[in-house]
């Protein structure tokens, strides 16, 4: 058999097309009739078709060679402008930073090259980036590390070239040298001088923190990254969401953020005054004004917005190590801080920007007077200013921030259904999934030691542990059906929370069977397994099966537990959701209202189950397209949640997202966009940078843009949502999302859909 020349192939090709579309039997007949007409052709075709049959066994060309491309980090020696990269200094969400040496031979100079992890869409954005960079470049001051250049590498990566500073953070420097209070204040005045100079050029730092204030070996202070937060934010103004691609949420450091930064207010020079106040407080007391009890970003944000800092002198306790680092006794340090320094710090740290020092220079003047023992400009106030005033003035912002606090602790109980689409429906599962991940992580630790692959550096995934445990469980516990029922329930729930529905289904089913064989068929836990099994079917979209199971279960529970039992009501709520998904909206609404009433009676109007049911009812109303009613209910749910759960609950972010969708459906696009942007701001400051809630909010913004026919913006936002990391469920249905239908037919949209699917597949593979 020889190779195929072009002519022969072209002659055979149409016959192959025909043959490949046939079943084996058809093909045999077809070949037989062909053989009668043209035996040579038939023989050739037959040989090729036989060869084709063997291909499948060989897996011929089934495994592509080239996924993925792996890029080595060896940038050392590459040049950027006139600089040659020497070694990496640091890496963060914002990008990587390299030590570089000037390479044009004219003079020796070191610099830091910062590659910025932002997407510059198009030439105009690049121009602006360079132009802003050159404005910052004109800012020169002995205590400011200058921006030498800003540009785009030949490979399209935006970079900044900064004066290289070999130093340590100011707080570390002060402690290492055991500087006393006076020396610290003097050093701090150099910082103020630098900031005042920048303010004179109308440049606000926005991100003053110890790691941006370095002190060199010779004792010289150098401020880093002046105006860079703004430089990057400017990009965001022009193409609002571009800033999002900075993965860290990077431009802002919450520990040193001013209240107006946290609440999305206007950033001015007063913002720097506040951050400088925090820095001075830290230098003098060794502690952050929000105290040491701050454990989560939510606590911190709460502290920034509404907790007045204790006076610096008050937090120096007997046995304070801070005093020792300041070369004094605690009692003496307390005396040094009380009086003028307390007053000065109080003035700088005012929640209301207008009540702070009017300028950095005024701040510096008071410190100068303090050092000279002159009377300072500020009268000690009574610290009676609590948050009332601030809250009054910034009500919306505070409420929004409150909502964001809620985002942090996701104590989710019961079944919470989000809204119209499956996208929101799946939130429940995903929310619990984080917790399941943590538990499984713990389990991983337990299993780790015995795993031989651990020694070669392979990590065991949570999933593997679960898989191993779920196979072991059957053999290990076969003699104890009761325990088997319990354990398979636990494992089934773990899979459910990980979104691995088919395994969850198998284990819950096993649990029910084990319980039955143990004679425990109708106890509460078994009924719970049955509820969860039916719920798994809902999450898989198998509504008809779920409906029939839930009907039976509801009947059993009503008889055994009574119609007002908590579990019965829970099943009824699940059932309402199923009906709503199947389009039986009137019945769904009726049941959901009964559930809500019963919960209001039994648990009270402010219980989390009750609020969750309000949200579920709103979701049904959305399906009924009764938007004003849904809107009213959802807003009520948000309001109660805010009041009772305190400001810490992830559900609220989801309620807010639903609320924005309702607004969208009501055609209030401006309103919807506004609240989404505020929500996004808060999410980005408070959640993990790649948390799927953030991606979903960006996605919702894309929906608004698409509805307005702003195609380019919608596409850019979708791309960001994909980069941030949509949930697989959201990513997979993007192509069919009716809210994006104005984008259909745009090849760029098709590309994004493909990218989203690819990411989703990669995520699943992990």
């Amino acid at each position: 058999m020889s190779s195929l020349n072009t002519d022969r192939w072209q002659a055979l090709s149409p016959y192959l097309d025909e043959a490949l579309g046939m079943t084996g039997e058809e093909r045999a007949k077809w070949l037989a009739s062909l053989r009668a007409q043209d035996p040579a052709l038939a023989a050739q075709l037959e040989a090729l078709l036989q060869e084709h049959g063997a291909l499948a066994e060989e897996h011929f060309l089934e495994q592509g060679p080239a996924l993925p491309l792996r890029v080595q980090p060896a940038l050392t020696g590459q040049t950027v402008g006139v600089y040659t990269l020497v070694s990496p200094i640091g890496q963060g969400g914002m990008g990587s930073v390299w030590l570089a040496r000037r390479s044009d031979g004219r003079f020796e100079r070191q610099a830091a090259v910062k590659f910025v992890n932002i997407a510059l869409a198009g030439g105009a954005a690049e121009e602006r980036f360079k132009r802003e960079g050159s404005i910052l470049g004109r800012l020169t001051h002995p205590h400011i590390a200058g921006l030498l250049d800003a540009g785009i590498s030949s490979d399209g990566a935006p970079y900044l070239i900064l004066e290289y500073v070999d130093g340590v953070p100011i707080d570390q420097y002060c402690d290492e040298h055991k500087l006393d209070v006076e020396a610290r204040v003097k050093l701090f005045r150099d910082v103020l001088g630098a900031v005042a100079e920048a303010h004179a050029h109308l440049i606000v730092h926005r991100d003053i923190k110890p790691s941006n204030v370095l002190v060199r070996k010779d004792g010289q202070v150098k401020l880093l990254d002046f105006g860079i937060a703004k430089l990057l934010a400017r990009e965001g103004d022009a193409a609002p969401a571009t800033l999002l691609t900075m993965e860290s949420g990077g431009a802002l450091t919450p520990r040193f953020a001013a209240p107006e930064q946290v609440t999305g207010g206007t950033v001015t020079t007063a913002t720097d005054v506040y951050a400088l106040g925090v820095l001075l407080y830290l230098l003098l007391t060794g502690e952050h004004p929000a105290g040491t009890s701050v454990h989560s970003p939510a606590d911190l944000v709460k502290a920034i917005v509404d907790t007045e800092a204790p006076r610096a002198s008050k937090i120096i306790l007997a046995g304070s190590t801070a005093a020792e680092k300041r070369n004094v006794t605690p009692a003496k340090l307390r005396r040094q801080l009380s009086g003028d320094l307390d007053t000065i710090l109080g003035k700088a740290l005012k929640k209301n920007p207008q009540e702070r020092y009017a300028s950095v220079t005024a701040f510096a003047d008071d410190l100068r007077r303090y050092l000279l023992h002159e009377a300072i400009s500020v009268r000690p106030d009574t610290f009676a200013y609590r948050t009332a005033k601030f809250v009054h003035r910034n009500r919306t912002a505070v409420i929004l921030t409150g909502l964001a606090f809620m985002a942090l602790i996701g104590g989710i109980t019961g079944t919470l259904i989000q809204a119209r689409t499956a996208r929101r429906q799946r939130d429940v599962a995903f929310r619990e999934r984080d917790r399941a991940d943590r538990i499984a992580e713990l389990m991983t630790g337990i299993f780790k030691v015995s795993d031989p692959s651990e020694r070669v550096g392979n990590s065991v995934t949570a999933r593997e542990v679960l898989d191993k445990a779920s196979t072991d469980i059957e053999t290990g516990l076969s003699k104890d059906p009761e325990l088997l029922a319990h354990m398979t329930y636990v494992m089934g729930m773990a899979y459910l929370n990980l979104g691995l529905y088919s395994r969850a289904e198998a284990l819950l089913d096993r649990s029910i069977r084990a319980a039955n064989s143990a004679g425990e068929g109708e106890n509460r836990e078994t009924l719970k397994s049955m509820q969860k099994l039916a719920w798994t079917l809902v999450l898989e979209g198998r509504f008809a099966e779920a409906e029939s199971q839930q009907r039976k279960l509801l009947d059993i529970e009503q008889r055994f537990l009574g119609p007002d039992d908590h579990d019965t009501v829970g099943v009824k709520g699940d059932f309402a959701t199923t009906l709503s998904e199947e389009g039986h909206l009137a019945e769904a609404e009726k049941l959901q209202r009964e559930v809500l009433e019963s919960q209001k009676r039994a648990l009270g109007p402010e219980a989390s189950f009750t609020i969750s049911s309000m949200n579920n009812l709103a979701a049904i109303l959305i399906n009924e397209r009764r938007f004003p009613e849904a809107d009213k209910l959802e807003r009520e749910a948000i309001e109660i949640k805010l009041r009772v759960a305190g400001p810490e609950n992830l559900s609220t972010i989801h309620y807010m997202q639903t609320e924005a969708t309702i607004k969208m459906d009501m055609g209030e696009l401006d309103e919807s966009e506004k609240s989404l942007r505020r929500l996004l701001d808060l999410e980005r400051r408070i959640l993990r940078p790649n948390q799927p809630e953030i991606a979903l909010t960006v996605y919702q913004l894309a929906m608004v843009a698409a509805k307005r026919g702003r195609t380019d913006e919608a596409l850019a936002l979708l791309r960001q949502a994909i980069d941030i990391g949509l949930r697989p469920a959201d990513a997979l249905q993007m192509g069919e999302d009716p809210d994006l239908n104005t984008l259909h037919g745009d090849p760029r949209f098709a590309t994004l859909v493909a990218m989203a699917k690819e990411r989703a597949a990669a995520q699943k593979a992990n």
Partner: protein, 191 residues
């Protein structure tokens, strides 16, 4: 680089008219573009990054179409060319795999594994590539499917969407291409 971008449209048109120098220039421009995009990821992340060939092609399309404006050719045509270029890029990097690691060096591994012995054999890839070139003369649309599917990892559904044909059609093309390639590799490899 910007000049090359703006001429990609006209180079594609030239290549389609059979202008071989336009085809060469198009290849070079796309090669540079893909290389640039892969490297851009490297600059940004400053660490080892994995990007798949498909992602790279998606990025290339979005970038070039953003610059090319409304006259930019459709995605199917673009991907057809770009996938061929990608094959070249993959083989070149397979070749230089053992060379001294310079900055921006790519390393090509199979999906889902880091193990070096599973790295596609460069000679094998070269032979496949030569057979694909031969196929491109006999039936260019089959060769394109091989580039998209085998070298770039697109699914049948994605290829079908790109080319505006049914998934069955793509599958049939793929099977025919496999028959052709198997035959020529078997002969060439004197099995």
């Amino acid at each position: 680089m910007r000049d090359a971008d703006s001429t990609i449209v006209s180079l594609m048109e030239g290549a389609e008219r059979g202008d071989s120098s336009a085809a060469d220039a198009l290849f070079a421009a796309l090669y540079a573009e893909l290389h640039r995009l892969a490297k851009r990821e490297l600059w940004r992340q400053g660490a080892v990054v994995s990007i798949s060939a498909t992602t790279l092609l998606h990025e290339a399309y979005l970038d070039i179409s953003a610059r090319g404006g409304p006259s930019f050719p459709d995605r199917g045509r673009f991907m057809g060319y770009a996938a061929r270029v990608m094959r070249g890029l993959i083989i070149d990097h397979a070749r230089s795999r053992n060379a001294i690691k310079r900055g921006g060096q790519f390393e090509i591994t199979r999906l889902g594994t880091e193990s070096a012995d599973q790295v596609a054999d460069e000679r094998e890839l070269t032979r496949i590539s030569e057979a694909v070139e031969q196929l491109a003369k006999a039936d260019p649309s089959l060769a394109e499917v091989v580039d998209l599917r085998f070298f770039c990892g697109f699914s049948f559904a994605e290829i079908a969407a790109m080319q505006g044909v049914s998934e069955r059609t793509v599958q049939r093309k793929w099977e025919k291409a496999r028959i052709y390639l198997h035959r020529s590799l078997r002969v060439a490899g004197s099995l």
